[in-house]
Assembly symmetry: C2
Homo-oligomer: 155 residues x 2
């Protein structure tokens, strides 16, 4: 189920960015989180709760990735981070979790999603609760990078 869950999020990330911004993104190799923290400029966080498992998803975008995605989505150039870009990252985070929820539901596994929270600030760091299931997956678009972090544990 863990692999299904991670796979459903990866699929959902690609689909959301493709659908909303017509941008193809490439995923890199998944990394077990260790002492090294991911850095990003805008991060969306959403909690997920299933009857027998809990988790969190954080999507941490570089400034260049957010501006590329927003410019593509809205058809006009965006050159700096503002409230609108934070809202956009919140919406993407919500849609990625919602997409994963749909995929998991088709496999008979239901989970509830919390409300997304967005953090902005140059080069902040993200630290999930350290569990064996913490994983970070880097993605690349043409101009920027973003990292999807998943923390997950059975309860």
């Amino acid at each position: 189920m863990n692999i299904d869950f991670i796979g459903s999020i990866v699929l959902s990330v690609k689909k959301v960015i493709q659908t909303m911004a017509s941008i193809e993104v490439k995923r890199g190799k998944a990394l077990k989180k260790t002492g090294t923290l991911a850095h990003g400029d805008v991060t969306g966080v959403i909690g997920m709760v299933a009857p027998n498992a809990i988790g969190s998803l954080a999507i941490s975008f570089s400034e260049s990735a957010v501006l590329e995605i927003m410019s593509a989505m809205l058809g006009e150039p965006f050159t700096e981070l503002d409230k609108e870009s934070a809202d956009c990252v919140g919406e993407i985070t919500n849609m990625v979790a919602g997409g994963a929820k749909k995929i998991m539901s088709e496999k008979g596994i239901e989970f509830g999603m919390a409300t997304p929270v967005v953090i902005t600030g140059k080069s902040h760091e993200i630290l999930h609760e350290v569990t064996e299931n913490d994983i970070a997956i880097p993605f690349k678009s043409q101009k920027g990078t973003f990292i999807v972090e998943i923390s997950y544990k059975e309860i």
Copy 2:
């Protein structure tokens, strides 16, 4: 129920800081979130999911508040933010949500908690999904400040 939920979090914040660090904190006036964003140096975020409501809790500490709380908790002076302080904020966030969950459960309302995520980075900003129920409550300890942000909506 919204007022109960916010009240349970406020009670839980005071109790957790009092119990873990023997520090009395004073709460300020709750503010409806508008365009202004809260700033913090270390923030813990946790999602909550009930059968008919979803929400998120973010607790955003100034560096001075985290160092004061850690020094008091562990009985030795802490002078800079590191992985240990991030873990401490994650644990506080988890305990605050757990305390609120217990209070609400005694009122017959059950909710599930996701895993906490911690964000560090000088003066980052927190933005919840904008709903009518977004609220920010400032707290003061002797040396520092922290802000508890609650986003909440019925589904």
